[in-house]
């Protein structure tokens, strides 16, 4: 199973909006997303920054939140997306 990461920020409304989709995905598809808050955790921020060469080109050149990242395949999704798109990303990755 690939490591699936959701980089999010505590005060990011887009991240908040995606949380129900993430919960539904975990329940229905039996996948687990590692949810890492990046503005209040230096460790998580450094991890996200370490993936900047992979993430930024796919997210308008920036480290946006939320970013959904598969560490094994380098598949990236960023911003608010539909449940189906999130599911496609997760299942493609697993």
């Amino acid at each position: 199973m690939s490591r699936l990461i959701m980089f999010y920020a505590r005060e990011c409304p887009h991240c908040k909006a995606m949380m129900p989709f993430v919960e539904r995905l975990e329940n229905e598809e039996k996948v687990v997303l590692e949810k890492l808050e990046v503005w209040h955790s230096d460790k998580n921020a450094d991890l996200m920054r370490s993936f900047r060469p992979i993430i930024a080109p796919k997210c308008g050149g920036q480290l946006r939140t939320p970013t959904f990242f598969n560490e094994a395949t380098n598949d990236v999704l960023c911003g608010e997306v539909t449940y189906d798109k999130l599911k496609e990303w997760a299942l493609k990755a697993s």
Partner: protein
């Protein structure tokens, strides 16, 4: 490269690649002389200002008044974003966007300071329902 310029009439400070012809403060013409960052800092330090959460909220509302965008009418959303902006200033030094992580490169990260130059972003430019990345600002609807 941006430099500091001082109006020799009223001590208005300008930071830019060239001096303004007209001083916006005292309306003097061709009054700016290049100065050092140290001098600029001393001149500006005379005026003490604060910018707490309420003051920032008022500042961004005033900022939108003559523009084609407004502060998002969704007040709980705005409160959440202001929480993030102010927390980032306290924890990281500047009012960074709560929805984009700073890279660690100071000059690069100046692009994330709220309000950012969202007019060029794909979430805003050319979109009737455009908004800045975090959605603090939205295009004004008729």
């Amino acid at each position: 490269m941006k430099k500091f310029w001082r109006c020799n009439v009223c001590n208005d400070i300008h930071y830019g690649v060239k001096p303004p012809e007209l001083c916006p403060t005292c309306l003097a013409m061709n009054a700016y002389v290049e100065i050092s960052s140290e001098e600029a800092g001393k001149v500006m330090a005379v005026t003490k200002t604060t910018m707490n959460r309420e003051q920032f909220a008022r500042a961004i509302a005033a900022f939108t008044e003559k523009n084609e965008f407004e502060v998002n009418p969704d007040k709980p959303r705005v409160e959440m974003l202001l929480d993030g902006v102010m927390a980032n200033e306290e924890n990281h030094g500047l009012k960074y966007c709560p929805c984009r992580l700073a890279t660690g490169d100071f000059n690069e990260d100046l692009k994330l300071v709220c309000p950012c130059n969202f007019g060029i972003h794909e979430t805003y430019r050319g979109k009737p329902d455009g908004e800045c990345w975090c959605s603090l600002f939205v295009r004004r609807r008729p």
